[in-house]
């Protein structure tokens, strides 16, 4: 088994707010991230796929296809967007880094052809990242 990781970057804005909480609770739990006007990050995405090396091509996966799927499913939808208002997953879920990693996984999982998704890593900043392995 060989693991292959492809990196991408996108920039987006978001804010954290749960309509079931009172305004005070929202401010207490989410702090500055509760500002309804939003704030932004430069996100770095790492997608790791796994598989056996194809003896003819020497590839685990066609990197071009992986790159295209990442662009189409993630970057086109999220780059330079306000996540809460423009990305359907975040109409109901809070766009934390945790939920972002899960959303990226769900977007990619069914679209990849030969590659098996191993890990989605999302860096919100160089000092904070979340890994999702598709675990229930």
């Amino acid at each position: 088994m060989v693991y292959l990781t492809r990196k991408a970057e996108f920039s987006a804005s978001h804010y954290y707010h749960n309509p079931d909480f009172s305004p005070e609770e929202n401010r207490r739990i989410f702090g500055k991230c509760n500002n309804p006007n939003g704030h932004g990050h430069n996100y770095t995405l790492e997608v790791t796929v796994k598989g056996e090396v194809d003896p003819r091509s020497g590839f685990v996966v066609d990197l071009k296809q992986l790159k295209e799927v990442m662009h189409h499913e993630v970057l086109d939808a999220m780059d330079h967007r306000f996540l809460n208002k423009e990305v359907p997953e975040f109409f109901t879920r809070i766009p934390t880094t945790e939920n972002l990693a899960i959303a990226v996984w769900q977007r990619l999982e069914t679209k990849l052809q030969k590659a098996r998704l191993h890990r989605v890593r999302v860096y919100e900043t160089p000092d904070l990242f979340v890994d999702f392995y598709g675990e229930a």
């Binding site: 954290y16 739990i29 945790e98 990242f129 979340v130 392995y133």
Partner: protein
């Protein structure tokens, strides 16, 4: 759904690698420049990885304010700008980055109750790093 969250922190500290169980020659042979009696320092980078189900109400594994507060009060305030050899935990143990990783893991394991601790990773310099997961093999 279960996610893993890693947070990165920085601190600077000095140490000297020297074992009282070894002769002066053996210490020099084992630790080389790190055995300099006056000590030397590093800018350490610490990564703490926690895991758990993502709370649907908050979208979080745990509130970063809790993790940052714990690490600040229990780890960084203890080690930042300290001479490690002067601390009680290194009275009997050589303050290698291996031993420091284990210490930091145990501080978190004892006191941080907001999420499951997966591992700590400690970079002594940009060229070397150490990981400890409580004696378990890291899951991934």
């Amino acid at each position: 759904m279960k996610a893993h969250l890693t947070r990165r922190y920085r601190f600077s500290a000095s140490h000297r690698l020297h074992s009282p169980e070894m002769s002066a020659d053996e210490n020099r042979a084992t630790y080389g420049k790190c055995n300099n009696p006056h000590g030397h320092g590093h800018n350490y980078a610490l990564e703490v990885t926690i895991s758990g189900p993502v709370d649907p109400a908050t979208g979080m594994v745990c509130n970063l304010v809790d993790l940052d507060g714990f690490v600040e009060n229990e780890v960084l305030s203890r080690y930042h700008l300290a001479n490690l050899n002067m601390l009680q935990e290194f009275a009997q143990h050589v303050p290698t980055t291996e031993n420091l990783s284990v210490e930091i893991f145990e501080i978190l394991q004892r006191g941080f109750a907001h999420a499951h601790l997966e591992r700590v990773r400690l970079e002594e310099t940009m060229m070397n790093s150490f990981e400890y997961a409580g004696g378990n093999e890291p899951q991934h």
